[in-house]
């Protein structure tokens, strides 16, 4: 089996563009949606507010006999002037309240009133977060800044070790992976899942960047080596050969990493679920883009630089 990836490159580019296009449409819809007002549904970390997650203590006799009455909890919130809070029941015995940023007094009052309605809660299982909106914004800014600086560093390194155009296309491929992950999470945010992105999502995007560049570099390394051995061959052939020679490595590596992530996704804790999902999407597209996007883009660019009609001028060396 030999893949001639360069022949069908318009197909690979088409697939990527289609997904990204759908993603951009979804991000635009999210942006226009008055509930979201951002390309992806932002979590507490970015918009600020208080998130109060309580779980009933079922060791207390008769505490968990009745299911939690969400209407009663809403009423509690309304009485405290928090009518616009979002209230959700989690599992059988958990309740999650999201509201504007509350101070200690307001929060304790709310918690007390809710406990009166639903019964005693287990303080060991509480999760209480309050975030000012500036903090999430700072995290976002510092994340983006770090990303830009690391991109510049990587471009410089690759430009020295390879050539400048290799570096640029490696970054484009990485961008592609980040965009696709953003697209899918934007769609999930619009869907009934209402998936929110938090600060861990930024960490996930950084991880994807690291993996994707790494993956592309291995293929570029092989292209560089093959090119050194056969300088006369057309560049597209060299790219095809190199991709095929590294294909089983690309697949096996992606498989090994995604295998671990899938098990964390399925069996791991709730906290890591969206994080591992983002990594699974990003790593899969990372492997895809290294094989089908980064290498074909490089071949296309090199073809344009050196029109493939050298036969009439000089005889080739070797």
């Amino acid at each position: 089996m030999r893949l001639s990836i360069n022949k069908s490159r318009s197909l690979w580019w088409g697939i990527s563009c289609a997904i990204i296009l759908v993603g951009i449409i979804s991000m635009t819809i999210s942006w226009l949606n008055p509930d979201i007002r951002a390309p992806l549904r932002p979590g507490l970390d970015f918009v600020g507010g208080t998130r109060l997650q309580l779980e009933r203590d079922c060791n207390v006799p008769d505490n968990c006999n009745q299911p939690i009455d969400i209407v009663a909890v809403r009423e509690v919130a309304r009485v405290q002037g928090l009518a616009d809070s979002s209230i959700q029941i989690i599992g059988d015995n958990g309740v999650l309240i999201r509201s504007k940023n509350l101070d200690v007094e307001q929060r304790t009052n709310l918690q007390k009133a809710v406990v009166e309605k639903i019964g005693a809660v287990d303080p060991q299982k509480n999760q209480i977060d309050s975030v000012g909106p500036t903090l999430g914004l700072e995290l976002f800014k510092s994340g983006v800044l770090a990303l830009i600086v690391s991109f510049i560093g990587i471009v410089l390194y690759l430009a020295v070790r390879f050539q400048f155009d290799y570096a640029v296309f490696a970054i484009i491929a990485t961008f592609h992976d980040v965009l696709i992950t953003l697209s899918i999470f934007s769609i999930m945010g619009l869907s009934p899942l209402r998936t929110e992105v938090d600060s861990l999502f930024i960490v996930a995007l950084l991880t994807i960047t690291g993996f994707s560049v790494n993956d592309t570099v291995v293929i570029y390394d092989r292209i560089r080596e093959t090119l050194g051995k056969n300088p006369g061959q057309p560049f597209t052939d060299i790219v095809d050969d190199s991709v095929n020679q590294t294909l089983s490595r690309s697949i096996n590596t992606a498989l090994a990493v995604v295998l671990t992530l899938v098990s964390i996704f399925i069996f791991g804790g709730e906290t890591l679920r969206n994080f591992s999902l983002a990594l699974i999407i990003g790593f899969t597209t990372g492997a895809y883009s290294s094989i089908f996007v980064a290498s074909t883009l490089l071949a296309w660019w090199r073809e344009r630089q050196e029109p493939p009609a050298p036969a009439s001028t000089e005889p080739l060396a070797n």
Partner: protein, 475 residues
């Protein structure tokens, strides 16, 4: 071969040392878990500028940190972590505290204490204002029970106005007798049910206090004790002190406190007043069980996934796969020991960085063995194939790992808390994986091919015979 021997011996020693650091009691260095994994509260305190102090420098930040340390230590929380986060934040971590209410109260206030003297001739206003102050407080108490948010806010506003009107009736001494002249402050029970706060001034404070009391002794005017510009207590000074003032450097604040309030106020005052106002910008609380649940299930899941990867490696790469598995186990031991030795606190993103670095370690091995296979298929001898497998794969491993380090460095310098934890474990993991993939796998591989019964090419590449004719196919 002698070099190989000593290398194997070195690896052996490192593994023993790593196991000792991880598990054997006298050498054991535990890897501290972050709050997201073990439960507790984290407060991020934002330091704010004032008209006088327009920019927060390291000096202000350090001063704030000291004060906060003092206040937290007064609370008696075990193992608190207080960290300055330049340019303008202080991070407080309180492990095991599920509800940081008291900490928030103690930290949130500036607790600016000041002793002021009443201006002459304002007695009637003062009495009127204090009466309405009392009424407003009662009203607020009543309203709190009804939970009428609008009315509460309105009453609070009136109370604030009233408080500043009262403050207007008093004037500061020169220099102002504030908390910075305090030596000690502690809550004490009075004879009744209420508590008071006893304070001791330092020498300069004692002199100022004596001058202040001397000034108003016998005039009928009051000393006002203000906390954050709110009058908590006012007292006259009898004429007997007119000559010298109250000397001795001690005073007490009685304001109808409960035991908890008096003790809290004592801590706040003793910890010193903050040079600049602060605000709690973020609080995060993770219940201890929640943290434990999520770490346990994630660790089991991660281990399960890793075992699958190990099985896959043996199934696909045969003997080299087994060698890679041994190298990966060594890798995991060495990385964990490095975390312990470097004192890295493990958080959820940190675990993510570790998982990614395991992926990179696997990738390095895969690169080497794929290369070895190709060379075998191209008809080289086993020894030459293994040799050039390592040699050729090295440049890809180096390039991909250096790019990972560049990214880690940028994330570490520029990122904030979460991101830094991730960058740190990833960087350490990648460094260790360079060592294990290149040194350990290599030493073991050469050991394997020096044993005659293991010197069969089928053990390295299962379908060598069928594929050797079409050497270019990679699969």
């Amino acid at each position: 071969m002698k070099r190989q021997r000593s290398l194997l011996a070195l690896i052996f020693v490192m593994v023993i040392a790593a196991i000792a650091v991880i598990a054997v009691p006298p050498f054991k260095i535990p890897v501290p878990l972050g709050l997201d994994l073990r439960g507790g509260s984290q407060l991020t305190i934002q330091v704010k500028t004032t008209p006088e102090i327009k920019q927060i420098t390291d000096r202000e930040l350090e001063a704030v940190q000291k004060v906060i340390e003092g206040r937290i230590n007064g609370l008696g929380v075990s193992e608190p972590i207080i960290q300055a986060v330049p340019p303008d934040k202080v991070l407080v971590q309180l492990p095991g505290i599920n509800d940081p209410q008291q900490a928030e109260r103690v930290l949130g206030g500036t607790a600016q204490l000041e002793f002021k003297q009443q201006k002459p001739g304002v007695e009637p206003q003062l009495i009127a204002f204090r009466n309405s102050n009392f009424e407003l407080k009662l009203e607020l108490e009543e309203l709190r029970k009804t939970k009428d948010a609008v009315a509460i806010a309105k009453t609070k506003e009136e109370l604030d106005k009233n408080n500043s009107a009262i403050a207007e009736l008093f004037e500061s001494t020169n220099p102002p007798l504030t908390g910075k002249f305090l030596q000690d402050a502690y809550g004490q029970p009075t004879q009744g049910k209420e508590w008071k706060v006893d304070i001791r001034f330092d020498q300069k404070g004692g002199e100022l206090f004596a001058a202040l009391t001397k000034n108003i002794a016998g005039t009928g005017r009051n000393i006002g004790i203000f906390l954050d510009n709110e009058l908590i207590s006012a007292a006259g000074v009898s004429a007997q002190y007119a000559a010298t003032g109250i000397t001795g450097g001690g005073a007490e604040i009685s304001g109808g406190f409960t035991a908890k309030e008096a003790q809290g106020l004592g801590i706040q005052l003793k910890g010193g007043s903050l040079p600049v106002p602060v605000e709690i910008a973020e609080r995060r609380t993770v219940g201890a069980t929640l943290g434990k649940d999520s770490i346990q299930s994630s660790i089991y899941a991660g281990l399960g996934g890793l075992i699958l990867v190990l099985i896959f490696m043996v199934w696909y790469y045969r003997l080299p796969g087994l060698i890679a598995d041994i190298a990966l186990v060594i890798y995991a031991l060495l990385s964990w020991a490095s975390f312990a030795l470097l004192g890295i606190t493990l958080t959820l993103p940190g675990i993510a960085g570790f998982v990614l670095s395991i992926g990179m370690a696997v990738d390095a091995n895969i690169l080497i063995f794929e290369r070895t296979r190709e060379e075998l298929k191209a008809g080289k001898t086993l020894y030459r194939s293994v040799e050039s497998g390592f040699y050729r794969a090295f440049s890809s491993i180096l390039d991909s790992n250096v790019t990972a380090w560049i990214a880690c460095a940028a994330l570490f310098w520029l990122g904030s808390g979460l991101v830094r934890g991730f960058a740190l474990t990833l960087a350490v993991g990648v460094a260790v994986s360079m060592f294990t993939a290149i040194t350990c796998s290599r030493a073991f591989m050469f050991l394997a091919i020096s044993i005659p019964s293991l010197r069969k090419p089928e053990l390295y590449c299962p379908d060598l015979q069928q594929t050797s004719t079409k050497a270019e196919v990679a699969k």
